[in-house]
Symmetry: C2
Subunit: 371 residues, 2 copies
């Protein structure tokens, strides 16, 4: 299932997790009537869905979160790089449970589903569907480096949630899948949807609120091109320092500045104005000035990107990947080379660059084997 969104502008308002199963006026998927208490151990009234495939393979893309002044509430999906999940009906797995059979492309990840991003999201999705009689086996193929700032955990979670949904007939809404992904993100990095929402939905997503969860899909015009130059240095961004670098309080002046940039960013996305997008994304006065010094050479890399003609440049997520934007792929490759040189020169870090376009579709079914 390719989740493509035809309408130019889509608002999804989701019940808060604690009210999802409330017996009163909770919005519920139209196929499923649930009467239960507010815990997640509720029993659906209708029959448990049967799997319609013996196995599925899904993909979910990398994501670029924060986008400068959009810190914690804006993110977008990046085409061509991400994680794959293969999910199979497995009689050897305890019914109602999931087992992670293998993880490829990354070391050090737990195979315990309760401690694995894909596993957590898969379990949440199974609970939403009320799966009690089928056991599943999952393989995770990581295409994204861990801790790169490109939404690696979110991609795993998104691919897994979509896989579970698809194997049982695709009944859940996009909003349900985001909630399942959020369960995963909450365990690994905090209750933030700015990676997992665009990973599932594609395109640009603004999170207007978390309780209830309200997601706005912002459509970048189809006729315009947008390329991301992703430059990933051989460096482990110190996550604790990255979080600690965030100010607890900020000046009114900086708030007004960053808010106006965020407004400009939204306008730029909806109008396909890359010049404005670039300027706004590069204008974060709150988070980037604190985090950039923790990535050796980052400021020089940004300067080099802008001088080479990029419309804008900033840190992707919490880094260390640095991302620049341009409207031409070849130009993007030149900018990437310049940025790689700058990382070495300014930060003494080796880096690799890749040029990707916007992923407007998000997490999707790649292949399936029918029963």
């Amino acid at each position: 299932m390719a989740i493509s969104n035809q309408t130019p502008f889509k608002t999804l308002t989701l019940p808060s997790p604690k009210t999802l199963f409330n017996t009163t006026n909770s919005p519920i998927p139209n196929f499923l009537s649930i009467k239960c208490n507010t815990s997640l151990s509720c029993k659906p009234l209708i029959a448990e869905p049967e799997p319609i495939f013996t196995s599925v393979k899904t993909f979910a893309p990398a994501t670029f979160a924060n986008i400068g002044p959009g810190f914690d509430f804006l993110g977008c999906a990046i085409d061509g790089v991400g994680d794959y999940v293969t999910l199979s009906v497995d009689p050897s797995v305890q019914p109602g449970h999931i087992s992670i059979s293998s993880i490829n492309g990354a070391k050090g990840l737990s195979k315990d589903p309760l401690w694995n991003c894909a596993g957590i999201a898969a379990i949440s999705t199974m609970k939403m569907l009320g799966i009690r009689s089928i056991g599943l086996s999952l393989t995770l193929d990581k295409g994204l480096p861990l801790g790169s700032g490109l939404g690696s955990s979110a991609a795993s979670a998104a691919a897994a949630a979509v896989a579970v949904n698809e194997i049982f007939g695709g009944r859940l809404s996009v909003s349900d899948l985001v909630l399942a992904g959020l369960d995963s993100e909450a365990k690994v990095s905090g209750y933030h949807a700015d990676n997992v929402a665009p990973a599932i939905m594609g395109g640009f997503v603004l999170i207007r609120s978390y309780d209830p969860l309200e997601l706005l899909q912002l459509k970048f015009p189809f006729e315009k091109d947008l390329f991301f130059v992703l430059v990933n240095p051989e460096f482990e961004a110190p996550t604790k320092k990255m979080r600690a670098a965030l100010a607890k309080e900020i000046s009114m002046k900086d708030h007004i500045w960053n808010s106006s940039q965020a407004g400009a960013l939204v306008a730029a996305v909806l109008q396909g104005d890359l010049s404005l997008f670039g300027k706004a994304m590069s204008s974060d006065k709150i988070v980037e000035p604190k985090r950039a010094p923790l990535i050796p050479g980052m400021e020089g890399v940004k300067k080099a990107a802008l001088e080479a003609g990029a419309f804008g440049c900033t840190i992707s997520g919490a880094g260390p990947t640095v991302v620049a934007v341009i409207d031409d792929e070849e130009k993007g490759k030149e900018i990437g080379s310049t940025m790689v040189e700058a990382f070495l020169r300014e930060g003494k870090l080796k880096a690799s660059a890749t040029v990707r376009s916007l992923d407007r579709v998000g997490a999707r079914l790649v292949s399936s084997k029918p029963r």
Copy 2:
């Protein structure tokens, strides 16, 4: 001259006031070449323009600034209420100067042009045009109550700047006029363009930066209706307290919240989504909670407006006018009545309500007498 903007999205980048007359790479209007030092007493190289009218009459609308989370960087123009300026060539006035002959509709305003909003803006505009040989006489007809939160000073400034520009042939750009208006606003209430920019440009305007001044015009779709219910209580908002009520520092959490609302507001304007617009405008967690208690009954008025069906409600500018939004004029009148009752009940204040639509045009020439 009705300043109507045909393009869906328009970015104006203006030189900062101190660089406007710089000899190096300053952007300058294409009709005028200026070589001078950085003070405003520079001499234009081309001939001083001749007046093409003996008199002109201009109008500039009321404006609704802040719009909740758009504090200090978002504003829009309101149709059907504002200030008129009548400007005439007057041989009895010293050449290069302006005299205010009368002010109607308001008491207590200075007739000294240096201390009057219309006068200050007119002087700035005359300086931009290099007017040295003609004296002008100005009449100001106020249609907006002072200190109401509806951009009264900005309307006077806008109407005056446009009047001077028009009487001399309309050579200046919208951006120049905003700068002239800013000179006025800076003297009376601070260097803010969120009233004077929409007063001149019409529609919604986002100020992305002040130095250089960059204004984004956000087009609300023509096919959609948008009505403002303006409720003005008989109350003088204590300006010093209103400014003092602003926090100097805010929490990161509140910053993220308000920024995401501002982003949602921009998206709502560009998509004509009044439901989202209303929710976002009503969701300010930084300024409104501090200022509302200073306007007796305001919180009850907002609650009444929302219960009566308004999409959203907040303080206009620094108040005390409270504004609600709806998509139907008749419905707006009902909401207005409810809000007036609430002001009396909750705040012991009499109030009057009016329903207006969005002014998409901004300051304009109303009539003229040719030479």
